[in-house]
Amino acid sequence: MDGAVGRTEAEKTPPKGTAPGAPRALGRAADAFLRRREATILVVAIALLVYFQWSRSAFLSHDNLVNISQGTAPYAIVAVGEVLLLVSGEIDLSAGMIFTLSPFLMHYFIDYYGMYPIIAIVVALLAGAAIGLVNGAVTVLLKVPSFVTTLGTLFLVQGITLTTSHAYPAEIPPAAQGLAGWFGHADWSELIWCLAIVAFFHIVLIRTRWGLHTVAVGGNLLGASEAGIKVARIKIGNFMVTGGLAAFAGILEAFRTSTIDPSSGGTGAMFTAVSAAVIGGTALAGGSGTVIGALLGALVLAELQNGFNLIGISANPFNIILGAAILVSMILNVHLARLRRAGRS
């Protein structure tokens, strides 16, 4: 029930009993921060950072920060789409496969159809959105549950990728090499895109009619349609956004890794993105979620992955530690959230 999207809580009047003498403005800022739903997961992310830095001093080195940013950004971008969908009461399982397909499309468009690289990228993004449109139309208009629809397109899109690529990696088209730095290859380029996308969709979700209607549709579908909200348009739109964002994340990762690989993305990427969204406070049941939370969720997952790698945990025990760390930090997260709520009296 800690619903909404941070909207209502973030904007409450300050509590009565602020410690007298304490610097007011700071206290109020801290307070405003603690009111945000994302506060607790941010605390978890910072706690992890402190822990890993303490146990292995390379954690905060420039290079490693780049690593972490690159382990966060693409999944956070996909997670943004999944947040919108989850908030509106749907899910897209096929996003990871769109992620896989889109750099291949770019490659085909450039190398086989001679498109200008930047146009090929735009068309690949539009193709991602078009797959989202199919997902949305089948889900909303033909009333197939989105889990099932996107399970179908998951296989379909994967099959298309494998068949057209002969299940073999491709190289970044030489013509597009000039764009590589802009689209993921430069150290911070993925992070910058990611932050821009997160900021944009945070505003969309929190401050626009589209976001409001997304919450309404997911919170109370019947009520939203009684209130005259265009339910179909909202849902289909969010599927399209997710498709487009997944395509974009796939292209960024292709440029970053300098290869177009049929095994990048996939259900793993989708799973990571949905996990980031849920860890960040988005409810699977709809009606509630935050884009910034999803970014922080992706950050927490990337920190865990990177930190334990840096410490030198090997593959087999890695998962034990990762799993335990997820449990511990999420119990901490929930506990903090409870403290936060209790403190607000």
């Binding site: 909404a4 909207r7 401050r207 009619r209 009520g223 939203a224 009684e226 209130a227 005259g228 009606g287």
Partner: protein
């Protein structure tokens, strides 16, 4: 007076359940029409047809004398019809003021004008005598009457020409209910808005309505000006129906 809304031979079934068989109803300009009837009589179903939420199985609707087919709620709303649903149609996850402007948000493109909406919401709630700690709280946390007040405010303060109110007073306290009736009366006095109101409290109905319709067995079986009927007549109507339908001895107490 001119007729703003007319329903002819409306029928609606849900699977095996026939809710409406043959509804004929008219609403005059600036009039408040009371719609009464047993639980399950089909009042809400009728309202949901008139506002575009349900499509009738047969029959037709005339809006300002012209036949109109409401494709959806937005469509009907675009034509000036606004509704308070019995289930309130609130979004628990949203704040009071967002719920109050849902579907009719104030926007300074591309952003929502939250400040404007918050201010207006506060003002409307004050006018309705409803006491809510803050318009920022999620409606999930409100009391039953507070929730209903929000749903009512959403429609009453819209600039709709036809208001359909489905039991808008059910959860309202005596004071708040009275204030809402005042509001409806104000609207009536201005003569621009026509209202259909469903209520089970016949005293309230008689107090505010110009005319009363009774919905029974899927049809409108009674249609009189409020001045020509009385609490006793309305109560008797319902009790008579009940006596005829059942043979159990307990006499229903006058409400």
């Amino acid at each position: 007076m001119t007729e703003v809304l007319r329903a002819e031979h409306l029928a609606k079934s849900f699977g095996a359940v026939t809710a409406l068989t043959d509804i004929n109803l008219r609403l005059e300009q600036g009039e408040v029409l009371g719609l009464i009837g047993d639980n399950g009589a089909g009042k809400s179903t009728l309202i949901k047809i008139l506002c575009g939420f349900h499509q009738p199985d047969s029959g037709r609707i005339l809006l300002n004398g012209e036949e109109a087919t409401f494709k959806s709620v937005e469509h009907a709303r675009g034509l000036g019809i606004d509704t308070v649903y019995q289930d309130l149609a609130l979004i628990n996850e949203l704040s009071v003021y967002h719920n109050m402007f849902l579907g009719r948000e104030r926007v300074r493109w591309p952003l929502l004008s939250n400040r404007a909406m918050r201010k207006l919401a506060k003002q409307h709630l004050d006018d309705m005598g409803v006491n809510i700690s803050s318009v920022d709280v999620e409606v999930a946390k409100l009391s039953g009457g507070q929730r209903q007040a929000i749903a009512v405010a959403r429609s009453v303060y819209s600039d709709a020409k036809i208001l359909l109110l489905d039991e808008p007073l059910a959860a309202m306290g005596a004071k708040e209910g009275a204030l809402i009736l005042d509001l409806v009366r104000e609207l009536k006095d201005r003569g621009e808005v026509s209202v259909i109101i469903i209520a089970h409290n016949y005293a309230q109905v008689l107090e505010v309505c110009d005319r009363v319709n009774l919905l029974q067995h899927g049809e409108i079986t009674f249609d009189k000006a409020a001045g020509e009927t009385s609490l006793t007549e309305l109560t008797d109507l319902v009790v008579a129906e009940y006596r005829a339908a059942r043979t159990r001895g307990t006499p229903p107490a006058g409400a």
